[in-house]
Amino acid sequence: MNDSLVIAGKSYGSRLLVGTGKYKDFDETRTAIDASGAEIITVAIRRTNIGQNAGEPNLLDALPPEKFTILPNTAGCYNAEDAVRTLRLGRELLDGHPLCKLEVLGDPATLFPNMPETLKAAEILVKDGFDVMVYCADDPIQAKMLEEIGCVAIMPLASLIGSGMGIVNPWNLRLIIDQAKVPVLVDAGVGTASDAAIAMELGCDGVLMNTAIAHAKKPVLMASAMKKAVEAGREAFLAGRMPRKLYSADPSSPTQGLIGS
């Protein structure tokens, strides 16, 4: 079955996108990402040491852009200007590739997104030629605004970044999925495999996660679990679940031919 995820005109076999933060070392990062099967991986953009520690290993040597689609993000930015500057640096770093993840935070305690600044940054970035995948609140109205601006994927939170609380408002996600003409990916909040499966069963086009894998007791095993959960959830969505009934009086085994009748 050809069921690829298409973002900005490019097809991907995996609907699981993963972050590269919070791992013990680059070896564990690479092993977990290989186990997840993810093709799109997010990275942060930060100041390098300027000669104090020459020869320090580089993340992109462990995860070469020739093999993975690298999604530079703006994690840690609290206004549109910093986010735009960060992504212009990310584009230069990755030799001009335009796909990026926009994320503008509003509160350091909860990491809840700042939607006015997110909308402002999205406008500037789309005009500047970026393909913007955008982290946002699970607000269908603002999700629509981001789509109208020209974002290539809408990525509402399932719950707060790093919380592992799972899908706390499936109904808002459904509203966003039902109206969107671009892919909708849950970004943030997934805690374990069943959360990822539920997101996919709701009709999400993909799931982006980091902490759920990196902070599992066994990250590589959890990465493998997430791969299966996303695939299982996707297949269940496509298969179409049976309706929920309180009871049915319709057993799965024949009611005729019982012995002793």
């Binding site: 590269t20 953009i45 390098t48 300027i50 020459a54 580089n58 970044i161 996660m209």
Partner: protein, 67 residues
Amino acid sequence: MIQVTINGQNESLDEGLSVLALLQGRELAGKRLAVERNGEIVPKGRHGEVMLAEGDRLEIVVAVGGG
């Protein structure tokens, strides 16, 4: 000597230094990084020709683990 700010730190550099020469001096040339000078990207292809000037503010960044 000129005074510049690199990644938020004040530094004294020789005059007539290009971005490329600075990167070479810090063993950063050829690495996967990006340079911004006074708010504008300096494309890789121009590192050799863009000369640093008094008061420049440079950001030199790399990709690190993130979500």
